[in-house]
Symmetry: C2
Subunit: 124 residues, 2 copies
């Protein structure tokens, strides 16, 4: 999986979970990794950054099954940031959609077109 795709979007995904409920890092990682390929080395830094920037705050709770958990809770600033990021993301997606889906969208269409074009110009 192209790791570049995740840049910027992972943060939004984390914010999306925190907009629902307070969560601790490990749980967030599990939730995210059910849908996208992501590990602890990636998510924890995001959580630290969000906190550093005032988008989230933390509190510790003890756990019966392991080390204490650091819960992250979204601030109002964080929610506003989340809304803004969502907007930018969907605007960006709309633009990309326009570019990727001109003419034939399906692979067969694309392949037929490409093949037709390359064959008449002695490519090989």
């Amino acid at each position: 999986m192209n790791t570049q795709f995740k840049r910027g979007i992972l943060e939004i995904c984390v914010l999306a979970l925190l907009a629902e409920n307070d969560q601790y890092g490990y749980a967030i990682i599990h939730a995210l990794s059910q849908h996208i390929d992501v590990g602890e080395n990636t998510v924890y830094p995001i959580l630290r950054r969000l906190t550093k920037e005032g988008y989230t705050e933390t509190y510790l709770t003890e756990s019966k099954a392991g080390a204490p958990r650091k819960y992250y809770t979204m601030t109002k600033l964080g929610f506003a940031h989340y809304m803004k990021q969502r907007d930018e993301w969907s605007a960006f997606l709309a633009g990309v959609y326009q570019i990727l889906n001109r003419g034939g969208k399906k692979h067969e269409d694309l392949y037929r077109r490409f093949k037709a074009r390359t064959e008449k110009t002695t490519t090989e």
Copy 2:
């Protein structure tokens, strides 16, 4: 606009245009910039990278209105790469969609939920 969003996707967008027809850099930049915010400093490096990796090849043509144009043409390898990237992108998007669109999707819904949650726990 979050510049991070573009990582990896810009390359796909360029490939999408080249899958249709041979194009020169300046034209590609114009086509892309109608839909997403992107400049020459970003696109030319991508074109060079694509060529370096064998996904595109180039040929020069003279132009009546300016410097000679370097046309980029997609190789078979490039087309295969394009198809693969498209697949990965849509798989990634599907995952992100699952995460971002659980429960209420619209801003009003999200806001109502967030507000309700924060108000009952003496935030402020």
